[in-house]
């Protein structure tokens, strides 16, 4: 069975640009959560979507937004990129319970 998939694997952007990251959950999973992991730190929660509705939002600025599609895949958008947005962006899927399965992440570098 395929796990959580994320694209792209790596991305390089410049300050002020916008980026879209994509996530496909495990088949049958209806919940997707997004996390930001800065090098050397633990992941920080950004958003959760369940059944296409936003169910939680972390302490991130409005430059961060997300959505979930009818097939439960999800996109994370970040506008007006800052150097500090450089991180590994992780997507996790869940069938609706506590257990979350993470994808490999998208490494975003902002120059």
């Amino acid at each position: 069975d395929a796990g959580v998939t994320q694209s792209p694997t790596h991305l390089i952007k410049t300050r002020g640009q916008q980026v879209t990251l994509r996530c496909s959950p495990i088949s049958g999973h209806k919940s997707v959560s997004w996390y930001q992991q800065v090098l050397g730190q633990g992941p920080q929660f950004i958003f959760q979507y369940y059944e296409k509705e936003e169910r939680g939002r972390g302490n991130f600025p409005d430059r961060f937004s997300a959505r979930q599609f009818p097939n439960y895949s999800s996109e994370l958008n970040v506008n007006a990129l800052l150097l500090g947005d450089s991180a590994l962006y992780l997507c996790a899927s869940s069938s609706g319970g506590y257990t979350q399965y993470f994808g490999p992440g998208t490494r975003l570098t902002v120059l």
């Binding site: 992941p43 979350q100 490999p104």
Partner: protein, 113 residues
């Protein structure tokens, strides 16, 4: 404000030894405590998890010990192997926000041959 505090930051253990990582939390509403293993350039992989109604859970060489009154939990890796060299994260979540994991800062474990 970090809701889950993890120690030590790094750990070196000999092959065959025991690795012990500790975590402490403040929010008594937390009711799910997983441990994740992460290799460089990869996403975290779920190792083992525990609920507060159980004081210990064992899966293979990995054991979680949970102390509800002290608001602490720990991961023990028995018979540590070089392949266990990775960063380990504890985390916590609660019923009304089950999709939101609060992570500790991580412990880098190095197992020497």
């Amino acid at each position: 404000q970090q809701q889950v505090k993890q120690s030590p930051q790094s750990l070196i253990v000999q092959k065959g030894g025991i690795s012990i990582i500790n975590c402490a939390y403040e929010n008594t509403a937390f009711d799910y405590f997983p441990w994740y293993q992460q290799f460089p350039g990869k996403g975290p992989a779920l190792l083992i998890a525990i609920r507060p109604d159980v004081s210990e859970k064992k899966e293979g060489r990995f054991t979680i010990s949970f102390n509800k009154s002290a608001k602490q939990f720990s991961l023990h890796i028995m018979d540590s192997q070089p392949g266990d060299s990775a960063t380990y994260f504890c985390a916590a979540s609660k019923t009304d926000s089950w999709g939101k994991l609060q992570f500790g800062a991580g412990t880098q474990v190095v197992v020497t041959p």
